[in-house]
């Protein structure tokens, strides 16, 4: 037969991951990222204080938000178990004991990762360590290849001294290695530690042309992307390119209390109530108190009246995003919860059962909202100092992204009216501060199973 020699795919033509054919597939997670049987190990590469842990942590959070199971394996944590408070000498490569312990920590992390994959728990693992030599990277590549795991090396390279120092002060001196130590001494020790690494550090170059890698130079000013093999890798790279590691905060607020909040109706495009109006007037002062004098923010609102009115006294640049509009409650728009319960009892029950996936008749689900918020999240990652004035369901989704809240829980979170939330992403977690305006408002929080009026004000 002619075709067998000409048109048939033969394995040697292109490497195919084993076991791919006719294997039962994972269900799509509904947000368009289907990973099939791909297993990817994202290998961080870079000197200390280049934002590796921050990047690793964010990638995991982003993937969770998109319902992709992911986990970080931090080699430093394995090493810390053996050596809780190491001095700079420990990281000197001429110190064979330190070198041996570090290699052992890397082995342990990789073993746990392989085990995690083989238990079918995850799709993407992040190996967070300096991985600063070609031989170490080759070792990881070989280990992963033997286990059928794809690799994506992510190098963060930075030669801007100011950026490095600010990263050391902001982030590293709060690292678990320096618990209870004098900050100045800790910073000094850290500088020494970096010098030890610099002696042996090898950047990814032409010798490693066969590796799949992305090299982020000076916080994304230039990015080199090599040998991307599949869609999921490109998706991770896309996300990485939107990240920056400069310190910043994000402020979130719901709109002021609206006429609909007062009457207990959901959705709509109502004006602010008197108390909502008072919150709008109080907001500039609240922002000044939280952000400090003279800090320039950019304000994002939805296209609905209540958020635009709430933000109108703020003297910053403002952008209206359609994507920040409240969850569309379809046929239920303009009804109260009691009315929904009597008109659509079945829907009301179903929604309580699985609020994340429930889609209003002719409207949206939380899952739909997450999809349309993706541009917002990307833009937020790129920007510094943004204040978002939006709606309950939207805030829940954005908040869930930054605070790593589980899917099932996020639609039930309480986000009170007339409160300014400040989120500050740090390397090990996101810090949160809440500032309440002293202006009363109805509670719009609805507990599971309840339909009491004056509870949930937005279609959330």
């Amino acid at each position: 037969m002619i075709m067998t020699t000409n048109g048939v795919f033969r394995p040697e033509m292109r490497r195919v991951p084993t076991g791919e054919l006719l294997k039962p597939n994972r269900k799509t997670n509904g947000v368009g990222v289907q990973a099939e049987d791909t297993k990817i190990c994202v290998v961080m590469v870079g000197l200390p204080a280049r934002g590796k842990s921050l990047i690793a942590q964010k990638v995991v959070r982003y993937l969770h938000w998109l319902s992709i199971p992911a986990k970080t394996f931090n080699v430093g944590q394995y090493r810390r178990t053996a050596t809780p408070n190491p001095s700079a000498e420990f990281f000197d490569t001429s110190n064979p004991e330190g070198e041996r312990l570090r290699k052992a920590a890397a082995e342990a992390a990789v073993n746990d990762m392989v085990k995690w994959f083989s238990e079918g728990q995850g799709l993407i693992a992040i190996l967070d360590a300096t991985n600063s030599t070609k031989s170490r990277r080759r070792w990881i590549q070989d280990r992963c290849q033997a286990e059928g795991i794809e690799t994506l090396f992510v190098e963060s390279k930075c030669d801007d001294e100011d950026l490095i120092m600010s990263n050391i002060k902001e982030v590293k001196t709060t690292s678990p290695d320096y618990v209870g130590q004098d900050p100045e001494a800790a910073a000094q020790d850290f500088r020494n530690r970096i010098r030890n690494y610099e002696k042996v550090y090898q950047t990814i170059d032409e010798d490693e042309y066969d590796l799949t890698y992305v090299k982020l130079i000076n916080v994304g000013k230039r990015v080199v992307i090599n040998q991307i093999q599949d869609y999921l890798q490109s998706r991770v790279v896309y996300y990485l390119m939107n990240l920056h590691i400069k310190p910043r905060s994000i402020w979130l607020s719901r709109h002021g209390e609206s006429q609909y909040n007062l009457s207990g109706k959901i959705g709509g495009d109502a004006d602010l109530s008197e108390r909502g109006e008072a919150y709008a007037r109080a907001l500039p002062g609240l922002v000044k108190q939280s952000a400090g004098e003279g800090r320039k923010l950019t304000v994002w609102t939805s296209t609905l009246r209540r958020t635009i009115q709430t933000a109108r006294f703020l003297e910053f640049e403002k952008l209206e995003w359609k994507a920040l509009d409240e969850l569309d409650s379809g046929v239920c728009d303009g009804l109260t919860y009691a009315e929904i319960e009597s008109a659509y009892p079945e829907d009301f029950r179903q929604r309580d059962e699985d609020k994340y996936n429930y889609r209003y008749l002719g409207g949206e689900s939380y899952r739909d909202v997450v999809i349309r918020l993706e541009p917002i999240i990307m833009e937020l990652e790129r920007s510094e100092n943004i204040l978002i004035v939006t709606h309950q369901a939207i805030l829940r989704c954005i908040y869930a992204y930054f605070m790593n809240v589980e899917q099932e829980r996020s639609p039930w979170m309480e986000v009170p009216l007339h409160t300014l939330i400040k989120l500050t992403p740090k390397a090990y977690s996101t810090q949160e501060e809440r500032l309440k305006a002293d202006i009363p408002a109805v509670s719009t929080f609805r507990e599971k199973g309840s339909s009491a009026k004056h509870q949930e004000g937005d279609a959330a």
Binding site: M3, V33, R222, I228
Partner: protein, 548 residues
């Protein structure tokens, strides 16, 4: 019709871009009316999305590096997302200005060209730039893709400066190839189909092209300007270097798309799944019937014979005796699509299941007859008829939902190097066809894919061409309808649709072969078309109702 005429019109008529001289692929048309694009998530009054402002994407690279392909593919994707995008091929303007059959002077591309050549160059550039400004400033355009060589660094810096004066951001995309094989394949597959070589034979065209590249464009500087925004694709995407591109969501999105794009040419085929025994149901996942299995064999054999014939045709035309590109098959995770691919899998072809490619969820309308849907949900039916693309029945998906869900598939479609056969439900084929042929969203629900035809999408750098391959000897009952088609979208009010695939015809209604073709040229053209079909490529007129 050829692009020469389009280009000719381009130089003389300001409205050229509203009409296409071909019904092949609408990527070079501007939509007549404003409407949401297939995967657009929201709309704005200015028509510009993501607060990204206006952008000119300028290509950089020697000929035969896939610039035009990148331009057109990117335009296709951005339009799919709802970003108003148009491609301005400088080559079109050049050809239109010198007129058919003429060529630009020998020193046209030289740095030290004669004054008359410089004058001609400036005239052509001016015309093209005027059209770009009109599109961005007066027609709510957001992204203009400027497809040109842009060989010299100083020229690129000046270009970015000039656009900056109009508050337009310039993003350069360079395609660089160090691999001679990629260049030669590009010349063969892409360049000799370009209007420059209409009527030439392959070998001469390739020779001429390569000679022309080195002789006529002796100066080329790769991008290193650290202050400009640029993306460099090396060897068809093997490596991508991105410089200073963090200026907006859209720019990053473009990089994301380019990471999945390659510039090698390959075919895509669409086929329906075979029929099943059981009463159709979305939830029941039935196996193929005997007739369905027969269909699978006939479809597969027809496709294999067709591919072999095409290969022979290339050899006969003096092309190389290359092996066929490997063929990969994508199915959904529904049993009937997987089983339709079983025969090919048995022959050693690679089959992948893609769960995003499952058909539209019919929601509460599952298993309901059209009549009952009309009785129970008259309001929904009315809404559906006014906007069949965006409307969703209770608990169901709309075509828009499906398009958003299929986005990763579209990126993987671009990524795939092998030829590709997609076996899927009609609703999925409609959306994928809509992407590849730049259909308007409103037309997508009306596209029809009768079971006795395999659709072949042939990528060309200027526009894609769709071609139908008839599967012979299929039993009549299997051809027209979509037995597994869900009962939505329901046809336009009252009467049963004359077009299969526009909805499921009521059981027992026979559909004649002449009127079921809504992806076909107008009814009057059918005879001519039938004769063309035997010979080769057929320009498919999208969305034309035989009734019109």
């Amino acid at each position: 019709m050829d692009t020469l005429l389009t280009a000719d019109v381009a130089a003389n008529s300001p409205n050229f871009r509203r009409r296409s001289s071909t019904y092949v692929d609408a990527i070079h048309d501007l939509p007549e009316k404003e409407e949401m694009a297939p995967a657009q998530l929201y709309s704005t009054e200015s028509g510009r999305l993501f607060h990204a402002g206006r952008i000119v994407i300028a290509t950089v690279g020697l000929p035969a590096r896939g610039k035009t392909h990148i331009s057109v593919a990117l335009a296709r994707y951005l339009r799919w997302l709802g970003v108003k995008t148009h491609v301005f091929h400088l080559g079109d303007y050049r050809r239109a200005t010198v007129g058919p059959g003429n060529d630009v002077p020998e020193d046209y591309f030289f740095v030290n060209a004669s004054p008359s050549s410089v004058l001609l160059r400036n005239k052509i550039l001016k015309k093209c730039r005027e059209d770009i400004y009109r599109f961005l400033e007066h027609e709510n355009g957001q992204v203009a893709i400027y497809d040109a060589v842009n060989a010299i660094s100083a020229g690129r810096i000046a270009l970015a400066k000039e656009f900056q004066k109009h508050q337009i951001t310039t993003l350069f995309i360079e395609s660089q190839c160090n691999d001679e094989r990629i260049i030669e394949e590009n010349v063969r597959n892409v360049k000799i189909s370009s209007p420059d070589y209409k009527g030439w034979n392959d070998v001469d065209a390739i020779k001429d092209y390569l000679a022309r590249i080195s002789a006529r464009i002796p100066h080329f500087e790769t991008m290193e300007e650290s202050d400009l925004h640029w993306i460099k694709m090396i060897n068809a995407g093997e490596q991508v270097v991105v410089n200073n591109c963090a200026f907006g969501y859209l720019s990053q999105r473009i990089v994301f798309y380019l990471l999945n794009l390659h510039i090698k040419s390959r075919q895509t085929y669409f086929a329906r799944a075979g029929t099943t025994n059981e009463e159709d149901s979305y939830k029941a996942d039935a196996s193929l019937s005997q007739a369905g299995r027969d269909y699978a064999v006939k479809m597969s054999d027809t496709l294999r014979a067709h591919r072999e014939k095409e290969r022979q045709a290339i050899i006969d035309k003096g092309g190389p005796d290359n092996a066929l590109k490997p063929l990969t098959i994508w199915t959904s995770t529904r049993r009937r699509t997987i089983e339709t691919a079983d025969y090919l899998a048995g022959l050693g072809y690679r089959v992948r299941q893609r769960s995003q490619m499952s058909q539209m969820n019919p929601g509460v309308c599952e298993k309901m007859s059209e009549k009952r849907i009309r009785e129970e949900f008259p309001m929904e039916v009315a809404k559906h008829e006014s906007d069949p693309y965006h409307h969703r029945y209770p608990r169901a998906e709309s075509y828009h939902d499906l398009a958003v869900r299929l986005e990763p598939i579209i990126l993987e479609l671009e990524r795939e190097n092998n030829d590709l056969l997609i076996i899927a439900h009609e609703s999925v084929l409609r959306v994928l066809y809509g992407y590849l042929m730049a259909c308007n969203a409103a037309d997508i629900p009306k596209l029809s894919f009768p079971r006795n035809e395999i659709i072949e999408i042939i990528p060309a750098s200027y526009n894609n061409v769709a071609k139908r391959i008839t599967i012979p000897d299929l039993p009549e009952f299997m051809v027209p309808g979509s037995p597994e088609d869900i009962k939505i979208p329901v046809p336009p009010s009252g009467t049963v649709t004359p077009f299969a695939g526009l909805g499921s015809p009521a059981r027992g209604i026979s559909v004649t072969s002449s009127d079921r073709l809504s992806v076909r040229p107008a009814a009057g053209a059918s005879e001519k078309e039938a004769s063309e079909k035997a010979g080769g490529s057929v320009g498919l007129k999208k969305h034309v109702h035989p009734m019109e």
